[in-house]
Symmetry: C2
Subunit: 871 residues, 2 copies
């Protein structure tokens, strides 16, 4: 019979796929001698078997559960429904950590009968009843799917009735009353009595965990995090230990280092006389972990020792759950701790200094997607001087955000869709709020700690978050919030700082964060290991400056058309478009020439001796024409021509599928004057900068949309013609002329094209459009649907389609290198900054990727990770 | 020193590339002992050398010319400017026959001095002066570029002044007067005296021939006929023989068989006492060749014998020019004769019967593009009963045409561009009229014979032509024509029959020609040798019927969307598009279902047991929505919904690049109800037809626009779901399910796609669009420009781009066959009916091509030729 269940002594951390992350780690901790309550893990294979078996637990698995329970009873010397009475927790444990997504049931095994014997054996009727009350509530909600508020309101009514402040004030009589009401709710809602058999409770709980794998929240989480649906979840069944067995008991959640700053110091919270859920749910505000040292030094020391052991064992910062049962310390869970980007960087560097990791290990531990966070905005310090702090909450996720406040996820989502900047303001967040959080610049909650849902999820998303802002009062009915005595309506502006916890009135301008020395160190390590260079897509001196700051090794794509929209250049280009003769066109181009030249000079001055790869005009000319009648009338006035003429030209240039129309090198061949002017501007700019600033710019000229050898050879000759006239070779050296490869045909004839090119730059955006036949402007609708239908795993415009587009790129490189072994090869589409895509590009004979400035650090890190051997 | 010149005794017919067609044939005829006036050929290499040498004849070539002239003088025992006096013709001779395109000069060598010695030696002052008069006129026009009308008007004035009717009535005094006036014109126009040195005349004439290679007319002809510009022309210099040396002299043009009907009988015209140009130019109306037998039997017999010898020698029908000089027969030229399609078919079959060719040779001799002509319309015989013959001209090129008359090429071209059906009506046509002829349904001329420019060119184009319609009087000034006593204005309707020469008033309906037994025989031979099957693209029973008549082996592409536009089905599909729920959508689809089923039944009934490959819905849904406001209002009324709703949906469905939007299988995945309905309609139709008509239709189901394995596997499952419900397998056998390969990505993942497909059908139209990034709707402009700039050799939508699209097809076939060796492979784009493309497809592992019905015979012939070994 296939083994579907493993005790914690049987497993280890390498069995994640079978035992889930939590189960594997419980087993691993058991293996290394840490105090973990005994238990067993029902494997992910059992979960998949459950789904295959028409959502039924098979007899063979049922039998293995019975046997495992029996073994557990032997081991801990307790009995299900016996004395001493065994209670268990049932928790999901997916292969990848999915915080808050899956359901957990504690205190399973309790019933009307054994609650009394527990009361006797623990000598605390209150404790036993509180456990039972919690169990009924949790089980009924998770397994029987009875809404939580039905129970919450009974609890609140009771407290109100007896004028009690906290849950802890509930005495046996109150609890008995509550339990009785709870059971009535269960009967009303489910039509059945609350189940009394611990085995039945266990089977149903396990089934509920399996089912929860497919609940909407879990699906959304998996979708966001690209976790395949087929993985399944394991279920951990573990002897209960109680943090709520009086004042020498407690529970806590701790990070081995500060997850916001990376500081090497235990960081977390605990509550005495409480169960774990009280800490995580953020309902009671817990104490800082440092307080524990004062309350129970031996336990604190044990926690500290365990933390150090785990960190060294996993070579990673850990997120630990622990419980103290009447002075005895138990570890309930460990996992790699989520952390802010800056914490991740600091921890990686500290680990290297402490000898826990080497530089390569440090690089591999970082998440390229998270690096983005470091680039997130902070408040403009000058503007901040004038701002008044309305309130202070917990600095739950770093960064600064400003926006209009909205009180629920749906409204926030809608506001975002309308183009508003959003701050989501909630009492506390729950998994249902995920879409709303995604839509927000920042999240502000009234309740919950640093490990609350809002805090954990926001850090994961790299969103700024202030949690536990106790001075925040929300009136959901009136849709207003009171903060520091001031009233705010929905739609009013607030600004929050997730690094300080401060909340400010109104808008405060944000600026990009200043990158620190740690970041620079990590990036320099990354560059040591990378094979791919990272260049930038930048069209202006400002962008170029940003790219340099982020470590770009040059500009891989400088689009020239954006420059045409500046100021009154647009009239000049329109005049050029309307020109009926070559000489009229040249006249208009002559007006554009000095502007283009100055644009290029500005960029050369920033990039100095790094290459600047300039793409000649690419978009169809109609993009420069006005779309609306008033704009056309304005244009008619400016250019002193008739509206009819403009309408006629606009009509003539209109295209059914402009993506595949008269653009790119097709323009260059039909209106050679345009490209001539551009090449002249590029070379003259370089020569002038050299003369004025005494360094040598490195311009490169890129011909777009080539699909045919002749296109490139003709336009190369045209460019060379200009080069011969200006004769820059002595001063600038050889000016490289290359082409974008963005039409599938170009890949097929890459050998012929390569013989005229100094380099290929794969324009993976357009290449994706044409290879897949997906118009980027239109495909959003069906790509979304395709992802839902699992026809696509990822959006091919975000992550390179390796099978299709990637295969074409492979062919093109192979063919290109055959005729031109010196051919330089780069990628300048958006996917150049995507982690998975960079890994793929690293496997090919590619020299560089080029992406927008803010994606450069991510790409540098991904390039290093791609170059390092995989585990 | 490189040999640039070859005497006729040195060359042969295999030296076409060096000597041009005319030169190689003159040499060949000399070789086989036919009476060809002596001469030599200046090679095409000399022509290219001339262009390379800055349009100058190099010294080395000049030297070879001098030597060749000297040898010629020796051989014929005459002297340039001596006695007996050598006169020569100078003619161009391109590698491919280019009738009327290149310029010719006769009687070269004459001057004021030797014209007198010729008069003495021939004892005919009139003859010598007439030669000189013609020579000055021709040389001045061709070499000195003096307009012809200046000379014509002098000639006409002289005839008027002396009341002379024909050129033949001109006597010595008249001719002296004319020559004197001609020379004055030359002096006025060129600023120089008419050149007197025969050598100078010769050099200039040779140069003029070289130059004429690049004149506009030649360029247009080459463009139409896909002749590369780099080929160059040879120049033939040949001793003059004179058809105008009195009544025992003459000249003629003859086809060895009738070029219209193919009848085995000499066919052509001659004129006594005339030079060749008189026959070709159509200025004097010549006599039928049969008359020659009566006038000069020995010469006629010699001509007949030469014809038979040449036909057997070339295994092809010949077009011969001959001259009789004082009773002596000379052959001046032979070349493969242009012929009508039906003549080509008849001649090929007769050649096989006569043992001149075998069946393979016959197939190879036919031109697939010309086969189209056989499918050209004839008049509806019933309608013709009522029509009255206005006039009868020569039946110059078969077929019937009806349209509005226009009197010049430019106006005809313009009318055609405006969508009018055009009949070009001219006194006679000239090479300048080519564009106008292309734009016309038919050509009607007042002058010129069966070998006139109009006749020859029209036959080549497969246009109907009536020439030499002497009852036609054209008033170019008033833009009217008088025909049989009736006055017609420009724009009035006429109908002409190029097979009878009849001209009718008004419009007469045309119908497709009935294919004869000869055609069937050729097609059956073709099918014997072909490897590729030819199927049809047909969407209706009518088209299917036509396809069957033309020999289609099935339907390779039946588009289902055209059916949706019929009658009020469009409302149903609109209702479907507007449906907000699946059930509303299904409701609308249920209304469409019986129509679709009946459509398919109709097609199955025609095709019987031949396969019918039906493509599920492909175009984006917005194609079915109204575009204009009135149409939208109409739709709102019909469907009883608000205009706003329609505008909203239209807006929502609008796409920037619809070619790469929500269409094809993307629709099928997002709205599975549509494809389900279609598959149900297909299978039910087949089952019902089988039941009703007692034969078994062969439906095949094709999924369009697949680019991803999952798309096909999902939609295949969907179709199979319907198949399971209807369970046709016992009755219909296995229903094949395949996919169109039209997205480049599909080629890259063809191995994976193939594992779910019974067949691939390459949709080369869309595949071309996406591989090249050419939107078919927009690319016209730049494809035209690209052909002019020689960036493209052919329009890739007409002739498959072998390097790009072809390479992708190769890859896809290789990959597809790897995982599915039984995979059937076809091509269903327009290029499936193109000759060059069929040759390419034949080299690949492709089973069939599918094209529109009228292209089927062409494709069948091309497929046979492709399969036969090349010479």
């Amino acid at each position: 019979m296939k083994q579907y269940i493993y005790t914690f002594s049987e497993g280890n951390k390498n069995m994640r796929h079978l035992l889930g992350g939590k189960g594997a780690n419980l087993a691993e901790m058991t293996q290394i001698g840490l105090p973990v309550p005994a238990g067993f893990t029902i494997s992910t294979e059992a979960c998949n078997q459950y789904f295959e078996n028409n959502n039924t637990i098979s007899d063979s698995i049922r039998k293995q559960i019975d046997e495992s329970v029996h073994q557990l009873e032997q081991k801990v010397n307790k009995r299900f429904d016996g004395s001493p009475c065994l209670l268990v927790s049932v928790r999901s444990g997916a292969v990848f950590s999915m915080p808050g997504m899956m359901d957990t049931i504690l205190n399973l095994g309790l019933n009307d009968h054994n609650v009394k014997s527990i009361a006797e054996s623990t000598k605390s009727g209150r404790f036993a009843l509180d456990c039972y009350r919690r169990f009924i509530q949790m089980y009924s909600n998770v397994v029987l799917e009875i809404p939580m508020y039905l129970f919450e309101s009974i609890l609140e009514d009771c407290k109100e009735k007896y004028h009690l402040k906290d849950d802890q004030d509930l005495m046996e009589n109150h609890l008995n009353e509550i339990i009785s009401s709870y059971k009535q709710v269960v009967l009303n809602e489910s039509g059945k009595e609350f189940p009394q058999s611990p085995k039945e409770q266990l089977y149903s709980a396990i089934e509920a965990v399996f089912k929860s794998w497919n609940n909407e929240r879990a699906k959304i989480y998996r979708k966001i995090n690209n976790i395949p649906d087929e993985v399944g979840t394991a279920v951990n069944v573990q002897m209960m230990v109680f943090g709520n067995m009086g004042d020498s008991s407690g529970t806590g959640v701790v990070f081995t280092r500060n997850p916001s700053s990376g500081e090497k110091k235990l960081y977390g919270e605990f509550l005495m006389n409480a169960q774990g859920e009280d800490v995580v749910a953020g309902i009671r505000t817990p104490k800082a972990i440092s307080e524990l040292e004062k309350i129970d030094k031996p336990v604190y020391d044990e926690l500290l020792k365990a933390s150090q052991l785990l960190e060294a064992h996993y070579s990673n910062m850990q997120d630990i759950e622990f419980t103290i049962e009447m002075g005895k310390f138990y570890l309930l869970q460990t996992r790699n701790g989520k952390r802010s980007a800056s914490a991740a960087v600091k921890i990686a560097i500290d680990f290297v200094e402490e000898g826990i990791l080497d530089e390569k290990g440090a690089i591999k531990q970082l998440d390229p997607n998270q690096i983005d966070q470091l680039l997130h905005p902070v408040f403009d310090q000058e503007k901040l001087q004038a701002a008044e702090v309305l309130a202070t909450g917990l600095p739950a996720s770093p960064g600064a955000a400003t926006g209009q406040i909205f009180f629920d996820a749906k409204t926030a989502e809608k506001a975002k869709a309308e183009g508003k900047e959003v701050i989501l303001v909630r009492m506390e967040t729950s998994p249902e709020d995920i879409q709303g959080m995604i839509s927000s610049n920042g999240i502000l909650t009234a309740r919950g700690g640093m490990t609350s849902h809002a805090a954990v999820v926001a850090r994961g998303m790299g969103k700024c978050c202030v949690s536990g802002c106790t001075h925040l009062e929300i009136n959901e009915l009136n849709r207003t919030a009171n903060l520091g005595g001031l009233m705010f309506k929905e739609g009013d502006f607030l600004s929050i700082d997730g690094s300080t916890g401060h909340v400010y009135q109104g808008k405060i301008e944000t600026i990009s964060s200043i990158l620190n020395a740690d970041f620079e160190k990590i990036m320099s390590w990354a560059d040591k290991f990378s094979r791919l260079s990272v260049l930038a897509n930048a069209d202006s001196p400002t962008d170029a400056q940003k790219a340099l700051e982020f470590g770009a090794k040059g500009i891989g794509l400088c689009r020239t058309e954006h420059m045409f929209f500046d100021g009154n250049r647009i009239s000049d280009i329109r005049e050029m478009i309307l020109a009926k003769t070559n000489s009229n066109r040249k006249f208009a181009l002559n007006k554009l020439y000095p502007h283009q030249k100055n644009d290029f000079k500005g960029i050369f001055r920033v990039m100095r001796d790094l290459p600047v790869n300039i793409r000649l005009l690419d978009p169809p000319l109609h993009e420069f024409l006005p779309k609306s009648k008033p704009e056309m009338e304005e244009m008619a006035k400016v250019l002193n021509i008739s509206l009819e003429e403009i309408e006629k030209v606009t009509e003539a240039l209109m295209e059914v599928n402009p993506m595949m129309g008269l653009r790119g090198c097709r323009l260059g061949l039909i209106y050679p004057e345009i490209y001539e002017m551009q090449v002249q501007a590029i070379i003259s700019a370089a020569l002038e900068v050299q003369e004025e600033d005494q360094f040598t710019p490195v311009p490169e000229i890129m011909i777009p949309l080539v699909g045919n050898e002749t296109e490139l050879s003709r336009l190369k000759s045209l460019a060379e013609g200009v080069l011969i006239d200006l004769d820059p070779s002595e001063k600038l050296g050889k000016v490289k002329i290359g082409t974008m490869i963005e039409v599938p045909r170009a890949c097929m004839v890459a050998d012929k094209v390569a013989s005229h090119a100094d380099y290929f730059s794969f324009g993976t955006n357009d290449l994706t459009q044409m290879t897949l036949g997906y118009s980027r402007d239109d495909a959003g609708i069906f790509i979304k649907k395709y992802k839902e239908l699992k026809v696509l795993k990822a959006d091919p415009f975000q992550q390179l389609d390796q099978e299709g587009v990637g295969e074409l790129i492979k062919i093109a490189i192979e063919k290109g290198k055959k005729t031109n072994p010196l051919l330089k090869i780069g990628v300048c589409g958006e996917q150049g900054g995507d982690e998975a895509s960079v890994h793929f590009f690293n496997t090919l004979d590619i020299d560089y990727v080029s992406c927008s400035p803010f994606r450069i650090p991510k790409a540098r890190l991904a390039a290093a990770q791609a170059a390092l051997p995989q585990d």
